[in-house]
């Protein structure tokens, strides 16, 4: 059951890795999130070096998202112009992120930075989602149709120049807003090894006010391209993409994603959002504990560089 990873330079149990990929892939298809926010911490808990975990998780997300993205594409669930704007921002962000990644690595602060960013983002996003989802579940239980405003009015958003119509999203906004969103997420993709769906999806719904039918498909579309660019950057810059690790995660991930897409169609959406919120908050708490409790190993060795 053991397999030696050529880039990570360690022996792992391949069944565990495939199982991990399958579990995360299921969530990926279900929620339209890449699932990297789970893959990366789980790989690190397993003992994979953080830099390898981050880079290989990005590669895995490309593969596990493509089948989901295609499934949404066939159903017309992708707003292509919106997706392209997000992706342009994402690739620019990935470039910035890889510069920051290299710099933090020389300082020896990359691991702790990865953890802090995880706790901050997952905590904030998870908390907000949890509050919203609990409200929606309560409303559904009371028998009130959860309406919610279709276009939440953001004055600063309306003030941005060069407004464009995004028909499928039902929006007339400046492309600068989704570009900036893509940029932010691109930075996170490189540093955290996440697709960023857990930020993009809520931001598209609550900040931009996109029609929910195209949110998940467009997010997956963006994730495929930005994680592919991230894989290239990591391959060249940090040389930490373990192709064997990524493929193991994929084998589980792609199958899991398909079942996730199906499960999403049978479950009530407000329940779905509650589950996702709970998972995000749980991961944030686990990572926060890791940061604040006295670590088992006080000393860390950094290789020949």
């Amino acid at each position: 059951m053991n397999l030696y990873l050529p880039i990570a330079e360690m022996s792992v149990n391949w069944l565990v890795i495939i199982g991990l990929g399958a579990g995360v892939g299921f969530l990926s298809g279900m929620f339209g999130v890449g699932g990297g926010f789970l893959t990366t911490p789980l790989l690190i808990f397993y003992g994979i070096p953080p830099a390898i975990a981050v880079a290989s998780a990005a590669t895995q997300i490309t593969g596990s998202s493509v089948s989901g993205a295609l499934a949404y594409w066939r159903r017309g669930g992708v707003d292509v112009p919106m997706g392209l704007v997000l992706t342009a921002g994402g690739i620019a962000g990935a470039g910035l992120g890889s510069v920051a990644f290299a710099w933090l690595k020389t300082l020896g602060q990359i691991d702790v930075t990865i953890n802090i960013i995880y706790v901050l983002f997952l905590g904030i996003v998870g908390g907000l989602m949890l509050r919203e989802a609990l409200g929606a579940v309560r409303k559904a239980r009371a028998g009130v149709a959860g309406k919610g405003r279709l276009h939440p009015h953001q004055p600063w958003l309306a003030a941005l120049p060069w407004r464009v119509r995004f028909y499928k999203s039902g929006l007339y906004i400046s492309p600068l807003a989704p570009f900036a969103l893509g940029l932010l997420v691109g930075i996170l993709t490189v540093i955290m090894g996440v697709g960023g769906g857990f930020i993009i999806v809520p931001a598209m719904i609550y900040l931009l006010g996109m029609s929910t039918g195209v949110v998940v498909g467009t997010s997956l579309f963006n994730i495929v391209f930005v994680t592919a660019a991230t894989t290239l950057l990591h391959s060249v810059e940090s040389q930490s993409v373990d192709i064997v690790l990524a493929m193991l995660l994929l084998v589980g991930g792609v199958v899991g994603a398909q079942f996730g897409v199906r499960a999403a169609q049978t479950l009530p959406p407000e329940r779905l959002r509650l589950f996702l919120a709970l998972i995000v908050v749980a991961v944030a708490i686990r990572l926060a504990i890791g940061l604040t409790w006295r670590p088992a190993e006080l000393f860390t060795v950094y290789g020949p560089t």
Binding site: L70, S235, V241, F299
Partner: protein, 250 residues
């Protein structure tokens, strides 16, 4: 056992003047392939005494297997505003990636301190060459931290009393190589020790390297980084697309 008997026969037939150590290793080359889970080296050999006069007292032996020295940085975490972050660091210029010693008796009773330091017998006697600029107390704290960390992961090991000696002539020891071992040129050194001093010494090279598919992937990722990235993306997309087709059909 056959190699041992041959070595013994040869050792008894040939009588030369100084004491010599004749050594062999079960594997001169360790290939890291996809099934690699670590390895166990059997280091064995014979002591060749002048004119075949075997002493009555058992010989003192230390067997050291070590990897190439590498410059590393050791960082220590400390609590800053409630969060554990890396603060201080010490650089070591010659920390071996792997070091294991097996001895026929406890190290303290086997060698005197000076000899142990000169021949680097025992993990506390490794010459790690810390970079100057740090306080001595801090340097030694980091040395101990490094050694303790690597002992827990099996990269540094001490097996006191684990060298087996037969009829005061033949010796053997097993050295465990963990799966996380760094690649490179290793040596197995055998020291014959009497009254705290080294009286004979032999060294045998061992090479540990990736082989087959593992080696190919590694070399590809270093020499053609961009192409490697493109292949990784293409494989990911292909696997994702194919799996999607398979699952939809079923």
């Amino acid at each position: 056992m056959r190699p041992l008997i041959l070595v013994l026969a040869w050792a008894l037939c040939v009588g030369a003047a100084p004491i010599r150590l004749i050594t062999d290793i079960s594997q001169r080359r360790i290939d890291i392939v996809y099934t690699f889970r670590g390895a166990e080296l059997l280091v064995f050999g014979a002591i060749q005494y002048p004119r075949g006069s075997v002493p009555d007292e058992p010989p003192g032996l230390a067997i050291v297997v070590r990897g190439p020295p590498v410059p590393i940085t050791v960082r220590k975490k400390a609590r800053v505003a409630g969060i554990w972050v890396n603060t201080d660091s010490v650089r070591f210029e010659t920390a071996p990636g792997f070091y294991a010693v097996a001895t026929s008796a406890p190290i303290r009773s086997l060698v005197d301190e000076r000899t142990a330091a000169i021949y680097e017998i025992g993990v506390s006697n490794l010459q790690l060459s810390p970079a100057s600029g740090n306080a001595r107390a801090q340097t030694s704290e980091f040395e101990q931290g490094l050694v303790a960390l690597r002992r827990r992961t099996g990269l540094y090991a001490e097996h006191e009393g684990d060298v087996g000696v037969t009829q005061n002539v033949l010796y053997r020891a097993r050295i465990a190589i963990p799966s996380a071992v760094p690649v490179g040129d290793y040596t197995a050194e055998i020291f014959l020790i009497r009254r705290g001093k080294v009286i004979a010494h032999s060294a045998t090279p061992i090479s540990i390297d990736k082989s087959g598919f593992e080696r190919w992937v590694y070399v590809f990722s270093r020499q053609y980084a961009l192409l490697y990235g493109l292949v990784a993306v293409a494989l990911a997309l292909l696997a994702g697309w194919l799996a999607g087709l398979v699952v939809r059909r079923t």
